[in-house]
């Protein structure tokens, strides 16, 4: 019996099938045409043709954030691969598992400045978890299965697989074997927290008088929200989420004190500043959280749980570091608390909550809407919450609208809020929403965006027509790069250098040109009615262009170089 032989291109597709991949997001070109030919000749995996490779990475990313499955991107060598760079960086910063298959010129040409040759492995080295340069047919299944394993385990992240043309072409064939049970001797991420550290942490938590739980994207990535809720309810302590961690606990849970950080709630930042113990779970003390690290929570004992040792004591020193998967560690903590008959110090707790409620009463997340004036962007987000009954997937771009979405749409579940928190990539929103819609066609998927951001990947309206992806795009149109303008107002004496969008297109017409429905909203009295109308159209993409007050700023806002809780509450009013 002779073993069946396959081309490298066939091996790529067979490897992806073996790994149960449903979609590839990509764009063809010379070096990967053999792979496209192999995709054409099978029907297990569907290829989604975007209009720009950056959008392929964000679409794969959005798909992954919503489903937890590894997203797969395919791009040709040279410009195709470099167009993926922003999307790879975006996934890297938010620890999103992604496998990027990048074409390359033939091995004999590598290093010769051949047509469409770019050292994509070199270009992406600082923004990937790992990369593989395949040089023979046998490398292909090994690299792809290892790439999936590395991308999705430990602290997840993007992995690039470089595929030179000559190992893909029909002239070269070889036997196909794939091992999906991967072991890598140099890669063994920690899973369980060290028992001694767990004991110490449980003791410290038991003795706390002013405990705060601070949780981040790690909770979302590891689907640990139920366990988190259980832990928090056991502790009866306040919990705050990072921008990436929203939905980790329900936004309407009574112990939830809001997002923390630069545009977080006063009560969240105040609680952190006054805590005696901070339990950090899958969060990384990002500079958008801490504000000035020198002044960061001086009286707190910090218990830091993270899968990535480099995140621990990088910016803020952890007194009790615990390296492990956050869900596993939380279970260990719960078990330990049971073992030591934990019961919270009720007197201290009630004092603590009394204090927190005073901060809550300041109502730092609020705005003023005059019924006869321009629509406030916050009001639009509130209306979206109401109309979708809090049950939509909300994808956002980057800017003021992103912060308003985070502040005014309480997320009930993890994976419901999808945004580029770490990289802050404008142009992320629409393709990410498309990825979500592809995975959940029956759910409301909203892209909350700005007039600046939407134009960074607006060409994807065409992809939406092709694959029938009826997302609802809501542009909080302030005719400006609002977030930039806000900083210019606050820090640069109101000099609006290049923060205007003086030649905005008619977005309704743009939408219509791509075959979608466009709706424009100019005044408050038509807001809810027209938004409702948009959500009633189920089978077509609706682009809602809402004219909002361009003067609105995002508040509260941390004061630069101040402590975590030093904030502007509104114009000229400090905390």
């Amino acid at each position: 019996m002779t073993t069946e032989l396959f081309t490298g291109a066939e091996m790529v597709v067979k490897s992806l099938s073996a790994l149960k991949v449903k979609y590839i997001f990509g764009y063809p070109g010379g070096s990967v045409l053999d792979i496209y030919d192999a995709i054409f000749q099978q029907d297990e995996i569907e290829h989604i043709l975007v209009r720009h490779e950056q959008a392929a990475t964000h679409m794969a990313d959005g798909y992954t954030r919503a489903t937890g499955e590894v997203g797969v991107v395919l791009a040709t060598s040279g410009p195709g691969a470099t167009n993926c760079v922003t999307g790879i960086a975006t996934a890297y910063m938010d620890s999103i598992p992604m496998v990027v298959l990048a074409g390359q010129v033939a091995t004999s040409l590598i290093g010769n400045d051949a047509f469409q040759e770019t050292d994509i492995v070199g270009c992406t080295r600082p923004i990937i978890k790992h990369s593989f340069s395949c040089r023979s047919l046998a490398d292909i299944p090994v690299a792809i299965s290892k790439a999936f394993y590395i991308a999705s385990t430990g602290r997840p992240g993007p992995v690039v697989v470089e595929l030179p043309k000559d190992i893909l072409i029909p002239q070269n064939k070889g036997p196909f074997n794939i091992e999906t049970d991967i072991k890598i001797r140099s890669y063994n991420p920690n899973i369980k927290g060290h028992p001694k550290q767990i004991k110490k942490a449980a003791q410290t938590i038991s003795n706390a008088k002013r405990l705060v739980v601070y949780s981040g994207g790690g909770i979302v990535l590891s689907d640990a929200s139920e366990l988190l809720t259980k832990l928090v309810e056991t502790l009866k302590a306040p919990i705050t989420n990072t921008l990436m961690g929203l939905g980790g606990i329900s936004g309407t849970h009574k112990q939830f004190i809001g997002m923390l950080g630069m545009h977080g709630s006063l009560e969240a930042n105040k609680s952190m500043a006054n805590a005696d113990v901070i339990l950090a779970l899958g969060a990384r003390f990002d500079d958008r959280v801490t504000n000035n690290v020198e002044k960061f929570c001086p009286n707190a004992t910090i218990v830091h749980v993270d899968i990535d040792p480099t995140s621990i004591s990088k910016t803020i020193n952890a007194h009790i570091p615990i390296v492990g998967l956050v869900d596993v560690v939380m279970q260990q903590l719960l078990d330990e608390l049971t073992d030591i008959n934990f019961s919270p110090d009720e007197a201290a707790l009630s004092q603590w909550w009394q204090q927190i409620n005073l901060w809550r009463n300041v109502k730092s997340i609020s705005y003023e809407q005059d019924e006869n004036e321009k629509i406030k962007p916050q009001r639009v987000v509130e209306a979206l919450y109401k109309i979708t009954e809090g049950d939509a997937y909300v994808c956002s771009d980057v800017g003021q609208h992103q912060m308003f979405a985070a502040q005014y749409y309480p997320f009930a579940k993890p994976r419901q809020w999808i945004n580029s928190g770490g990289a802050g990539t404008m142009g992320f929103g629409l393709p990410a929403a498309m990825g979500v819609k592809l995975a959940f066609p029956d759910k409301h998927v909203i892209c909350i965006t700005g007039d600046g951001s939407i134009q960074m990947n607006i060409q994807e309206l065409s992809t939406c027509s092709q694959y029938k992806l009826p997302v609802v795009i809501v542009t909080l149109n302030n005719r400006s790069l609002g977030m930039v303008r806000q900083w210019q107002d606050m820090v640069y004496g109101g000099r609006h250098s290049s923060s205007y969008m003086e030649s905005l297109p008619d977005f309704v017409k743009v939408a219509e040109a791509y075959g979608h429905v466009g709706i424009q909203i100019d005044s408050l009295d038509e807001l809810e009615e027209k938004l409702t109308q948009a959500f009633n159209i189920k089978d077509r993409l609706v682009f809602v262009d809402v004219m909002v007050d361009e003067k609105e700023h995002v508040y509260p806002m941390q004061i630069r170089t101040g402590a975590i809780d030093e904030m502007w509450l509104k114009k000229g009013v400090k905390s």
């Binding site: 492995v121 070199g122 990369s131 890598i184 001797r185 140099s186 040792p309 480099t310």
Partner: protein, 165 residues
Amino acid sequence: MRRILAILMENEPGSLSRIVGLFSQRAFNIESLTVAPTDDNSLSRMTIATKGDDKVLEQIVKQVNKLIDVIKITDITDRKHIERELLLVKVTAMNDKSRTEVTRITDIFRGNIIDIGKHVYTVQLTGDAEKLNAFINALQNETEIIESARSGCVGMARGDQALRI
């Protein structure tokens, strides 16, 4: 403070560039870096001499360890350890006086003259960085250094401790 890190990693294309990239990307200092395959050809052993306070060092060790190719990293500075570096130095040896001086200094430092030219001697010396520096200073006082090449240090813990898989 100066630290010596010993790293055991997969001997694969790209491994070295990942380490070097990491140091430059995160603004870590590299004083010297040496690398070569070990007795087991699938592994590379690297020694990095670096500088930084405790916090920076903790990050360097963790970040290097995080690289997928890296099997182990240890900071051997505070342990009893052996540190060696190779120096090749070419000096002017024009006349009898300078020739005798170079030979004398080389003997004192237990180096070897390994090549001679019309007017030059090439000397080889191994030792730790301090010894090599002292040797260079001594030579400079007596003659002119034309060219010098240092390997950067390699290091290993003393006694039974071993960095292996």
